[in-house]
Symmetry: C2
Subunit: 300 residues, 2 copies
């Protein structure tokens, strides 16, 4: 049997199996690649003057709920549950653990959910500052994200890092921002020595009602992705995304422009793990043997 790409990554020690599909530790070399990707993203967008915000891997559950994630992608969500019991409940847990029984009955939904996309926690923080300034706002954000899709495909991880630039302003401003980043994204792919193509996204909205949402998203050109072959050429991997949210978050959080209109928003996201895996797949697992131009772009 041929070793899968994931097997080869494990064998090379670049990713380390934890016993849970899609939940991997990373080696120093893998992190070095991620640091290089991070630097390239900064090289492309750093001069725009974005405000830097870094998020922990969890978010306020009330914000998570209001964002609609449990309605659109319930199967991908992760909620954090905690124990609030007393000594007797603690004794129950110990007994259940010792006997291999269900010890989670005492775990209760907390006020924290795992962050599914780096920008979800940002909108209420921005709205709290009041109306946008005259030129709108631009943020540079990063978060560990969670999506519940256990898989043996290296590119489908349950916990992964996403860096984004998020633009808030008028429709013209945010659409121009998105177009600029679609062009920059294509340049970035060349810098990495990779082949990519931009296409409309097919987000996996849940259930029967989800079909309508997916069609709507595609018909309105709301989300594009940079697709790069990693696991296969037939099913390339979305390594960047370019999203226009219209007034969705502006309305939800009462975020307005300087002249009082509902703000529009757009974001561009970079999947650090997926970009690192694309580089490893195309240029090989021996980083020292990567093309000089790619090495120079990543690490100066």
């Amino acid at each position: 049997m041929t070793a899968t790409f994931l097997d080869r990554l494990f064998d090379a020690g670049l990713l380390i199996d934890t016993g849970v599909d899609g939940l991997y530790a990373r080696s120093g070399t893998f992190e070095h690649i991620v640091d290089g990707i991070d630097a390239v993203v900064t090289a492309f967008g750093g001069a725009d003057g974005a405000e830097v915000v870094r998020f922990p891997p969890g978010m306020n559950r009330m914000v998570f709920e209001k964002t609609g994630y449990m309605k659109n992608f319930p199967n991908l969500a992760g909620t954090v549950h905690c124990f609030c019991g007393d000594d007797a409940a603690h004794a129950d847990i110990i007994a259940a653990l010792d006997e291999g029984g269900d010890w989670a009955a005492h775990q209760k939904l907390s006020d924290i959910a795992l962050t599914p996309a780096a920008c979800y926690p940002l909108y209420p923080l921005a709205a709290r500052r009041g109306p946008l300034p005259a030129q709108g706002r631009l943020f540079d954000i990063l978060s560990y994200c969670f999506r519940r899709e256990p898989s043996k495909e290296s590119t489908r991880q349950q916990m992964f890092r996403m860096r984004e630039f998020v633009r808030m302003g008028t429709p013209d401003e945010v659409m121009a921002f998105r177009q600029l980043w679609i062009e920059r994204g294509a340049e970035m792919v060349k810098t990495f020595g990779l082949d990519g193509a931009v296409d409309l996204a097919n987000d996996p909205f849940f259930g029967r009602a989800g079909r309508m949402l997916k069609n709507n998203q595609r018909q309105q050109n709301l989300k594009f992705e940079m697709l790069i072959p990693v696991e296969s050429v037939e099913k390339p991997t979305a390594c960047m995304s370019f999203n226009y949210h219209q007034d969705h978050f502006g309305t939800l959080w009462n975020l307005t422009t300087a002249d009082g209109a509902v703000a529009h928003t757009a974001c561009v996201g970079f999947g650090f793990e997926r970009l690192a895996l694309a580089l490893l797949k195309v240029h090989g697992l021996d980083v020292a043997a990567w093309p000089a131009g790619v090495r120079a772009a990543l690490w100066g």
Copy 2:
């Protein structure tokens, strides 16, 4: 009313309130401080040749259970729960969300728990490689960690980063490692321009049974902490810890030395957020005005 330190951090934009106590976003300046601390830790320990491993914020729940965290600190743990239902269950959730009811009934315990301490996921990965080599092993690890202790004290965050060096080998090897890092930790505190003192730890083991565990830990000198005044001088904050696990993890994971004895382990941990907050408290919120020596140590 006097503004608390947390209020001042919010006002300066260094930490950003998410609406959940102990769950904060960080500004670019805060991250710049964390990067500097990370570099200082590398400067002290980088020449030791540790193997670098970086963990995602969640770990295999079976490992989490076996480590005993739910027995010792159930109230601090966070488990990740997911939805595995169908369209009908999805409809229940949507209805409950719209009506403000309890929508979490369909959330089930997953195979992932939030990582409470950076080194817990490491031991089974190390043991899987077989007996330790002749000189034992040394790891350099980092993880976002979770502890369920909502608080208005800036230093008590629910999600925070911990970097550790972990030594595995004979009792003499791991005790020498710990002693070396207690001395390096004191030097590091001076580098940061801070005052710290090493003392025995008082871990908050849960419930009635926990008292015995706490006494045992103290009587056997298993855990020391570097205490630095941040929120108050009377209750200084543990910003580093120096832990000797005896053969606890070695026995648990069947980790042996080259000659077949059960391995002993020790670790030193650095709380990045707490060290950053100590620097901000002592040197002030205007990073540009920090002493030149401290700035040079952090950022060259």
